[in-house]
Subunit: 182 residues, 2 copies
């Protein structure tokens, strides 16, 4: 499974592509940043982010996209731009029919370190370790996006296993029902 993680922002969107599946080793395929210039007007900036995200989707052809969930409580001066950048990222992925998941920062921290209140440095340390890298990807936005991808594979894997277990259980119940009926 290949996941494109996106840490949205109007000035910098972190992007990170991770390959792997739950229970197997993960590998970092690419990480970087999609930028827009504060000197441009908002339509130009959003269009630039759209083109940047499209390029990452074209180049890496992920199976799923994970986007950081934005909250209104955060930094009020940047939250509108973050929400707008996230909308562009979500829409580009959805337009291709890709599954788009959203994870909160504390879900990412919990998935990667075991604690939803872990320090950023601890998350980056674990990301580097899990991906067998000497250091976490740079800049920080790229590292956050990679952490989102790792979180998505691990959480998604757990969710898939649970869904499979439920299907299996339902199948057994149905078989038992049929056996009783016979």
């Amino acid at each position: 499974m290949r996941v494109l993680g996106i840490d949205p922002g109007l000035t910098r969107c972190g992007v990170g592509v991770v390959d792997g599946s739950i229970g197997r080793s993960l590998s970092l395929t690419a990480a970087g940043v999609v930028r827009s210039s504060a000197e441009d007007d908002l339509p130009t900036r959003l269009l630039g982010i759209e083109r940047g995200i499209d390029a990452w989707l074209d180049t890496h052809d992920p199976d799923a996209v994970a986007v950081e969930r934005v909250f209104a409580q955060h930094n009020v001066s940047t939250v509108m731009g973050t929400a707008q950048a996230s909308a562009v990222a979500i829409t580009r992925a959805a337009r291709r029919g890709l599954p788009v998941a959203m994870h909160t920062p504390s879900e990412v921290k919990a998935a990667i370190t075991g604690s939803g209140r872990a320090e950023k440095a601890q998350v980056q340390h674990m990301v580097a370790r899990v991906l067998r890298l000497a250091t976490a990807p740079k800049p920080a936005d790229a590292a956050d996006a990679v952490a989102l991808s790792v979180c998505h594979i691990w959480r998604g894997g757990a969710q898939e296993r649970m869904a499979r277990a439920q299907q299996e259980f339902a199948r057994k119940v149905e078989l038992a029902r049929q056996a009783r009926g016979r």
Copy 2:
């Protein structure tokens, strides 16, 4: 000049198409709402808004798009969705190379009633009057979008006249400079 006004919202985007130019009478071509269902997930909702806005752009082929500028100070529970819907609307218009302008609610009120603190009912009354309608378009989101279009034509017209006057002034200065040089 044909303007598509968009009052963004995740559940309801008001849309309104107005034809006209500054100094001439304006006419309402269409008004309505692009909706998304709160039962769907966010990617599905944003994609639905994208398709709805595309359909309005296709059908009415406007010369410009005016979008209400969103502020973080407003209702915190809905502001994120409003920001995300506005990003989708702005990006769809920009992608077609259309000029996209943003006007704040008080700029709209001031353009239409002369007061940036006018009541909503007063704005709607004036919109109906200017467009020679018996009542303002319904629902309220559609009326707000129509008000945006009217505001855009009137403000844009003023801005265009000022730009033309400045060009004319610059041309005369240049002619005078050339005349002195001769």
